[in-house]
């Protein structure tokens, strides 16, 4: 798929993301796809820091920082004010991490999409509270070490399926995307831009710091997450129509886990069990997309 992207960047150098930060890559592509008529709502997350301290900003669009749990609500207010001023063209974009989306921000997000507020909500998912130093979130996958799931107490619950939670609200558009598939990511952002109502994008954004991963492997690991079906990329329209955007050959999850420090405590048995979970989830997704597994 050819990428139709402007040369203009809305993210400048001088941001304070870590080397290999998946969330910085995600931001670059999302803003390129949306363009300058965008206002960003940024609840507490890594990007609250990455965007830079007062009086500087690494983004070339208007940006409002807000409290951790308010991504859905602040965006509702920005949209309401723009509508009252007759500006229906500017896109309101909430940019939140997995904590601000899956956990503390879930109430405001659920409230906003139930009202079908007209904005795009992007969750860049690095699978833990990375800004505060790698604590578990409900997006942290089964098997992962974090500073609050250390040693033998590694996380023994599955990752919350946030897209399905949004789909249950019957929102007009929900999709997953990955920094390793920028064409697909840009296509989805551009598509979301022209849909009215609540749109949700779940972007897999690797975190070398929190995952115990070499910085240069950040994009590779994100690609492997898709190729192993750990993080399938797909779209759901109106809470009903599923489209899977990449059909994997089904690589083994072991290879994905091997490269990351956060999974190094897992035994062969644990990995086999995780492979089963991933296979089951993939089969379920195929069914939803009307593609019944063999």
């Amino acid at each position: 798929m050819p990428m139709d992207l402007s040369d203009r960047d809305y993210m400048s150098s001088g941001h304070v993301g870590c080397p290999g930060c998946g969330a910085a890559i995600a931001m670059k592509f999302v803003l390129k796809a949306l363009g300058e008529k965008t206002i960003m709502v940024l609840p507490a997350c890594c990007w609250s820091i990455i965007a830079g301290p007062y009086p500087q900003s690494a983004l070339r669009i208007p940006l409002i920082h807000s409290a951790f749990e308010t991504g859905g609500a602040v965006a509702s207010g920005v949209r309401a004010a723009l509508d009252m001023k007759g500006d229906t063209e500017t896109t309101v974009l909430t940019w939140a991490g997995d904590g601000g989306t899956f956990d503390i921000g879930f109430q405001a997000l659920s409230g906003a999409v139930e009202r079908n507020e007209d904005f795009i909500y992007c969750c860049y998912d690095n699978e833990a509270y990375m800004n505060t130093g790698v604590q578990r979130s409900s997006s942290t996958p089964y098997g992962a070490w974090t500073t609050t799931t250390p040693g033998a107490d590694w996380k023994k619950m599955r990752k919350k399926n946030i897209v399905e939670a949004l789909v249950a609200h019957r929102i007009p558009y929900a999709a997953t995307a990955s920094i390793a598939f920028p064409e697909d990511l840009v296509y989805k952002v551009k598509k979301a831009k022209w849909i009215k109502g609540s749109r949700f994008l779940h972007i897999f954004s690797s975190c070398p710091t929190g995952w115990g991963l070499a910085s240069e492997l950040s994009v590779k690991i994100a690609r492997m997450a898709v190729q192993t079906n750990i993080f399938p990329i797909y779209e759901v329209e109106d809470g009903l129509r599923y489209t899977i955007n990449f059909m994997s050959k089904g690589y083994l999850v072991k290879e994905y886990f091997k490269l990351q420090g956060r999974f190094k405590h897992l035994t062969e048995k644990d990995l086999d069990q995780i492979q089963e979970i991933v296979n089951d989830d993939w089969d379920l997704l195929l069914r939803k997309a009307g593609l019944f597994p063999a």
């Binding site: 900003s57 920082h65 207010g77 509508d83």
Partner: protein, 392 residues
């Protein structure tokens, strides 16, 4: 035009006349009549505003933070637990210097569940950087709501317009509702000093390192300090159009008074009646109503109280482990004077218990007959509760 309105409806009339653009609210008793009336105005087109029916008070204020940052005139209303839930964002709104106006209906906090009036909910928010204006009547509620926008937008601070649950929110009174044209002259469209604007991209509310954070807080305090002057200016304009003014405090018969009762909210009306009785009996008594609690009107308070012998502060609120909150602040205001009156702090009417003429009589008698208060806070009207037998 005179209309017979509830206190809640008076708030809603002012919001309509103020041409508020974005309303966001979550219902809570006894605030509901305000948002219901505003819903009617939005539905019948008499107010052109977006009304966000959000899923919590926290989101109600968060949405207004977004809307006000985008340059809209905004309103919300809440009470008690709802205000407590907003607490985090109260700081956010003032720190971001947003001129949001909120009606706050004073209601007691649970447990036990209690929907009746009590000021602890709003007074517990005294350090959040919001102006606080306590109202006595339906007319004052309407006028103060309009004035709140003028003040908020002139110094870039949020304002709480505060009214007692039921005694004011649900009480019908004749209220003079001003003409739209007159209100438009008093309150022109909101022109924000800064806002989210795609023509001029900037970041709002971002990280502030130690090198700048303190200066930001200081500028907020400077805005608070500027407020009394702005209030006086605003009231002169308001009085010219509407013939009414209130001031940060109102002193009744304080010039020669030896004992002055200090009140806020609807207790003031009972106090006015009581004062007449006292004066008729030849008592040298006075009454000071405190309307503006933040910024605290130190100068006015000192001016009216300094020559009294004793001051009896009636607090319908309490700070546990300390004392009544108005009493604390009034003591602090007076103690820097070389000679100052003795402050008696009374706790009365918590959780909606009536503060009647006889309550005030007891307070006055105790103050007159004792040289010094026997305790930091003197609780009035406590009765024996037999929990085991359920009698009280």
């Amino acid at each position: 035009m005179k209309k017979v309105l509830e206190g809640s409806q008076a708030v809603a009339e002012a919001v309509r006349l103020g041409r508020v653009e974005v309303i966001s609210a979550y219902p809570i008793t006894p605030q509901t009549h305000i948002v219901e009336r505003l819903s009617d105005f939005c539905a019948d087109g008499s107010l052109k505003a977006r009304f966000l029916r959000v899923e919590s008070e926290h989101s109600a204020l968060a949405a207004l933070i977004g809307a006000a940052s985008t340059g809209a005139r905004t309103f919300t209303a809440t009470s008690s637990q709802g205000l407590a839930l907003m607490h985090e964002l109260l700081h956010w709104a003032s720190g971001a210097r947003l001129p949001i106006v909120m009606a706050e209906v004073n209601r007691a906090l649970a447990p036990g569940w209690n929907i009746w009036t009590d000021q602890t909910d709003s007074l517990a928010q005294r350090d959040t950087g919001w102006m606080q204006l306590y109202c006595e009547t339906g007319q004052e509620v309407l006028d103060t709501t309009l004035q709140a926008y003028w003040l908020a937008e002139s110094v870039n601070l949020p304002v709480m317009v505060i009214l007692d649950a039921f005694f004011l929110s649900h009480t019908y009174e004749p209220v003079d509702v001003p003409d739209q044209e007159a209100v438009d002259r008093f309150l022109p469209p909101f022109k924000p000093r800064f806002q989210l604007d795609i023509q001029n991209p900037c970041a709002l509310g971002q990280m502030a390192p130690p090198a700048v954070y303190m200066e930001m807080r200081h500028s907020l305090q400077q805005a608070m300090e500027e407020t009394p002057q702005r209030l006086a200016e605003m009231e002169t304009i308001f009085e010219k159009s509407f013939g009414r003014r209130y001031g940060p405090v109102e002193a009744v018969a304080c010039e020669d008074a030896e004992i002055i009762l200090v009140t806020s909210g609807t207790v003031t009306s009972t106090g006015r009646q009581f004062l007449q009785d006292l004066r008729r009996q030849g008592e040298k008594a006075g009454l000071l109503k405190v309307k503006m609690f933040r910024p605290f009107p130190y100068e006015s308070i000192r001016r009216y109280l300094k020559s009294a012998k004793k001051v009896a502060v009636i607090d319908r609120n309490f700070s546990f482990g300390a004392s009544g909150i108005f009493a604390q602040e009034i003591q602090a205001a007076l103690c820097s004077l070389p000679v100052h009156p003795i402050v008696f702090g009374y706790i009365a009417g918590l959780g909606g218990r009536d503060v009647t003429l006889s309550t005030l009589e007891e307070i006055y008698r105790k103050t007159r007959d004792q040289d010094l208060p026997s305790q930091e806070s003197l609780w009035v009207g406590l009765h024996e509760v037999d929990h085991a037998n359920g009698s009280f």
